[in-house]
């Protein structure tokens, strides 16, 4: 178990990176607390796996340092870092039995036989494979193999951190939920520092204490699920988290009001003069249809997803999504959209601006 510090860390896959665009990971400084569960969330190719491989030592960063509990491990190989990692696709040793697979990381570190047997049994029950312990790994299904990979990752108790790289991609949905719960309870029990890479927001939000959202090689926000939902630090976070994502509208800010294509909208806070591309973001959950107030919109369609209705509307070429209660009647005269003023976030060049209390 360890606190992980990323100190001016950056990585490029090119030998001589020229501009910032050549970096798969842009320079970052972060400290990840000991014993916390983090989810690394972002779309494909945003640098999640790169960051994970740097932490585990499979990749050496082009710049900066990685520290475990304040100790520089940048130049240490994976084996010296005492890390467990589970990969996206199952990695099992085909010719070994399930038992031998689970025992492998312990045996390589010279653990004594009684301890190995005890741990293997315990892990087998966590992944639900006690009955298959003496089977050869070769003939097993993909999700059984992935469970073995997970088991191999969890079998060591003394690891500095447990890293997961989209480990549930190949597992079927029912089992996914169960394994995630198992991982979570394991985390509670042993308090390992865990880092979980995923592009699935539900997975990230349910698994982690803190979610690290990455976009284009940058960590754009580290926060609790609630913070990500209420105050996304970057328009990407707003757009990526939530279903549908946050509505983003170009606006002009004047004090505590926003001007959107000539219509004025009240804001919860007061803002000074802003530079760059200014937009406001508001979650569909905090928008409502109205006959009398708000922006005049054209309603394209209403999707009933059972739990609630999603109204797809358009305002001068910008899409606005609204979540309406299931029992809410949508009348023909309701052609305006009103926002909950205190829930509106203001962005300059995609980054959130903290206003002053009005």
């Amino acid at each position: 178990m360890a606190r992980i510090t990323l100190d001016h860390l950056a990585h490029s896959y090119l030998a001589r990176p020229k501009g910032e665009d050549d970096y798969a990971l842009k320079e970052m400084n972060h400290e990840w607390g000991d014993g916390e569960a983090y989810a690394l969330l972002g779309s494909s190719g945003c640098g999640k796996t790169t960051l994970l491989n740097i932490i585990s030592g499979l990749l050496r960063p082009s710049a900066g340092r990685v520290l475990f509990d304040g100790r520089d491990v940048t130049d240490q190989p994976t084996t010296a870092r005492n890390i467990a990692q589970v990969f996206q696709f199952p990695v099992v040793y085909d010719t070994m039995t399930v038992r031998e697979n689970l025992a492998f990381p312990l045996k390589n570190r010279g653990a004594d036989a009684a301890y190995v047997a005890k741990r293997v049994q315990a892990i087998a029950s966590v992944i639900g494979m006690e009955a298959a312990l003496d089977r050869k790994a070769r003939g097993l299904t993909a999700d059984a193999k992935q469970k073995i990979s997970l088991g191999r990752g969890m079998v060591r108790e003394d690891v500095n951190a447990l890293l997961f790289d989209e480990p549930l991609t190949v597992i079927d949905p029912h089992m996914k939920w169960e394994l995630r719960t198992q991982l979570k309870s394991l985390h509670r029990e042993f308090g390992h520092t865990m880092i979980y890479v995923t592009h699935d927001q539900t997975e990230a939000l349910t698994f982690a204490d803190k979610v690290v959202v990455m976009y284009d090689g940058r960590v754009v926000q580290i926060g609790t699920p609630e913070e990500l939902f209420e105050t996304p630090a970057h328009t990407f976070v707003g757009y990526f988290i939530g279903s549908p994502g946050m509505n983003i509208l170009p606006a002009k800010i004047e004090g505590d009001r926003a001007l959107i294509n000539g219509s004025s909208v009240a804001l919860g806070r007061h803002y000074g003069p802003l530079a760059g591309d200014v937009t406001i973001g508001v979650r569909p959950e905090y928008a409502r249809l109205s006959a009398t107030e708000g922006l005049p919109v054209r309603i394209a369609r209403v999707e009933d997803v059972g739990r609630h209705k999603i109204v797809r509307a358009e305002f001068f070429g910008n899409d606005i999504n609204i979540i309406a209660r299931e029992d809410e009647a949508i009348g023909a005269d309701m052609t305006r959209v009103a926002f909950d003023a205190s829930r509106i976030n203001v962005y300059a060049d995609d980054w959130r601006v903290e206003g002053e209390a009005a």
């Binding site: 585990s56 084996t79 996206q88 696709f89 990695v91 040793y93 990381p105 390589n108 003939g139 993909a142």
Partner: protein
């Protein structure tokens, strides 16, 4: 739905049947024909039954050739397979050097058999060959035309030079198909280099290695040209392998009957071994495909 039946479709396979008949069945039948008859020339044949087979089975000469053949195949497999794997493991995985290595490795495979024989025949000559002359100058007694050990060593080294590339290329292809995650997981699990080879690389290569072993076994079991060019089967009969012996018998002595019986048995042995290999490999595949 009712299946439509059209017997005319059989006509479509006729060309293939005709081709196979002329290229394989008829020549094979000629051999069968010779193997059960005797002739004293003038194209007159007499029924001999299984006489030639009986004679060949009790012929010490054939058993000696078979024994030599098996020893030869065993030796070259024991050298080429581990050496090929070793080479493949040490070849660069990507970049310019990977392509360069591939081309260099493929070169010996492109040289015709008799040219390979000629190269080594000259290379090993004590009077003008670089190898033979050097060895002689170093005081090592080497002469493949007179010394049995030298003759075998030359033929084996030649075969290793010619064919190790094949094993190496196949093993290399097998290695290239292993995803990086396996090596990364092995690092995480703190597996030793040997464990990586034993539990990741070898199992992943097993399929292509089976093919490599089969090909090398079949090929070495039928080897003719290279030893014929280099040693001519000598000194004495020391490097007279099955094919060389067969040709001596059929074309040198013109003993058509015994040679035909010999051919058929030779063919059956190869067929048997191929069948065993095929069964083993398909069983492996089935286990593999069970995931």
């Amino acid at each position: 739905m009712e299946k439509t039946t059209n017997q005319k479709a059989w006509f479509l396979v006729l060309p293939v049947l005709a081709l196979v008949a002329f290229s394989a069945v008829i020549p094979l039948m000629t051999v069968v024909n010779y193997s059960v008859q005797d002739t004293f020339g003038n194209n007159q044949f007499f029924w001999a039954g299984l006489e030639w087979f009986r004679e060949m089975l009790s012929s010490e000469r054939m058993w000696n050739a078979l024994w030599r053949q098996l020893v030869f195949s065993a030796i070259i497999l024991a050298i080429e397979v581990p050496l090929g794997i070793f080479v493949a493991l040490n070849m660069p995985k990507r970049g310019v050097w990977a392509s360069t290595c591939l081309v260099l490795m493929a070169l010996p495979l492109l040289i015709p058999w008799n040219v390979v024989g000629t190269i080594w025949q000259i290379f090993g000559r004590v009077d003008i060959g670089l190898l033979g002359y050097t060895l002689e100058a170093l005081g090592i007694d080497y002469n493949y035309t007179q010394d049995i050990f030298s003759a075998w060593a030359t033929v084996i080294v030649m075969d290793v030079w010619h064919w190790t590339s094949l094993v190496a290329l196949l093993a290399y292809a097998g290695l290239q198909s292993i995803p990086d995650a396996y090596y990364q997981a092995a690092k995480i699990d703190q597996a030793s280099r040997w464990a990586v080879f034993r539990y990741i690389e070898l199992p992943k290569m097993s399929g292509v290695l089976m093919i490599a072993i089969l090909l090398r076994f079949m090929d070495s079991f039928m080897i003719y040209t290279e030893p014929f060019v280099v040693t001519g089967g000598g000194p004495g009969n020391a490097t007279t392998f099955l094919s060389i012996d067969l040709v001596k018998m059929a074309l040198g002595q013109f003993d058509l009957g015994p040679a035909a019986a010999f051919s058929i048995m030779y063919f059956l042995v190869i067929l048997l071994i191929s069948w065993v290999f095929y069964t083993v490999m398909t069983n492996l595949d089935r286990r593999e495909g069970h995931r």
